[in-house]
Symmetry: C2
Subunit: 275 residues, 2 copies
DNA sequence: AAGTGGTCTAGACCACCTA
DNA sequence: AGGTGGTCTAGACCACTTT
């Protein structure tokens, strides 16, 4: 019953709620019609229909879509709504909008794709199977590389924390991170306990950062790291470097993850995959 | 002069074009005001201002933004426009909108980031420095792996094409691709000449595909590939696998690129980086 | 001049959440 | 009940491109 309320969601009490008479300038599209009483918004319905047409090749790659005005007209909706529908396709990278010329179906160009870290999120969200083990934590003098990354004076002290992340009792991610050793900072205390990793990933409410930069690299395991991850030396893994900046734009933490590609499949899809 | 025309772009012929009198329900925001005569749309100006406030920590991570209505009110714009402004922030991943609750500044969670292939695009766009050399092309019986990837009957023939892509006279990308050997298909002819690579990347107008899937993997060079790319055996590279599907959802082409990370830096930024 | 996408308004109603 | 985001309208005007 609670669902049933949702079903008659779409507004029906507007000026023109006629359903039998199509009204002027409508109903000359022979195929799909939109259902104003549906729980799916009109713009989503239009968007779906247009996507299907692209999928069927009715609107071929490179060709022009009908204008926003004519789409609005043929479906009996306002221009803003048809625009919103096309906006969905544009966001999904299916079409390009060019002012004054029209909207065009994109050709598949993989250099426009991108890879998200959703799969990694799944690993971290599965908290029952997750275990984070600190295998090393100490204060040390920064190496030259770390000095550069954290913009430190020569000879500065930094905190080093090494972690091993287990999923299903198996080690899957190795992390190492560095931060300036400022005993006063609340940052340091937290680091030894929850840290960038658990803090930022596990909603631990520790994120007074303004911005961060990630860099993804291919890497092969050295002897030590391979042993930790229970893999063979030389095996290929992802290396995910991270630098976090505070609100003064000072880099506060730097480190990297080593992750097996099985635990982090990076997949990107182009074109029409659904409907 | 042509630029000057652009400068007075913003419409001024609307009902209330008063510039001295602020009008009702405006001018109680003490800081920034928007310039209706600016060439920058109002929604972009609002968006920029809100972004700056996030950047300064005025709107802290996790906190709620003013409601769309109150933003519209305080800047003297319509609700739709303020909504559009906030939409920009949402698209950029800076805020989350939750119906009935409000709009909240996101905490930095790197599992929500993604990596784009823009850098690769630059390599391919630089056509003067680009050279594509076919180093092998033949018809052969599909291996078990290729059979599976292209959903072929056992014993099917496929076309194999190996390429080496030079940038600045140096080999930077190695590509191998397979496609079903159908002598009738226009696909095959094109493949030996322009192919998936040049076709899809270099605007060669060859893209009658419905969809495609890419997969990014870490890999290390074997002896042969290292020699081709002028690198050391065992060096870490990106392996970018691609599968293209035609409009009948049949996989038509499969292959992969080997790319040095220097030629394809994968960087992702979170939070406020500009303004 | 006509057509296209882009911006904007001033309203309206809806679904959801918190109180 | 009141506030918040989400959808929608019927217009208007603007900037750009093509004819």
């Amino acid at each position: 019953m609670t669902k049933a309320i949702c079903m008659k969601r779409r507004k029906n009490g507007m000026k023109n709620s006629i359903s039998t008479t199509p009204g002027p300038a409508a109903d000359f599209s022979e195929d799909e019609k939109i259902d104003k009483k549906s729980y799916l918004p009109a713009y989503a319905q239009i968007s779906r229909i247009l996507k299907q047409r692209i999928s069927k090749g009715i609107y071929a790659p490179g060709s022009r879509l009908p204008s926003e005005a004519s789409i609005a007209n043929s479906f009996g909706i306002s221009a803003m709504t048809s625009r919103q529908a096309i906006g969905i396709l544009a966001e999904e990278g299916l079409v390009d909008r060019i002012q004054g010329r029209g909207t065009f179906v994109k050709r598949l160009k993989f250099t426009y794709s991108s890879f998200g870290l959703d799969s990694l999120r799944k690993v971290f969200m599965d908290r029952k199977k997750l275990e984070v083990r600190i295998i090393n934590a100490k204060v040390m003098t920064a190496s030259e590389n770390i000095e550069k990354r954290l913009e430190l004076e020569p000879g500065s002290s930094v905190i080093l924390v090494e972690r091993l992340i287990f999923h299903d009792k198996k080690p899957v991610i190795y992390q190492i991170s560095y931060a300036l050793a400022e005993p006063e900072s609340p940052f340091v205390e937290t680091m030894l306990d929850t840290d960038v990793l658990t803090g930022l990933l596990l909603e631990k409410d520790f994120s007074s950062f303004k911005k961060a930069e990630l860099r993804l690299l291919p890497s092969s395991l050295n002897k030590k790291d391979a042993a930790l991850l229970n893999l063979k030396e030389g095996e290929s893994v992802f290396r995910l470097e991270h630098t976090y900046y505070d609100f003064k734009d000072v880099p506060s933490a730097f480190g990297w993850f080593l992750i097996t590609p099985e635990k982090m499949p990076l997949i990107s899809r182009m074109g029409v995959w659904h409907d």
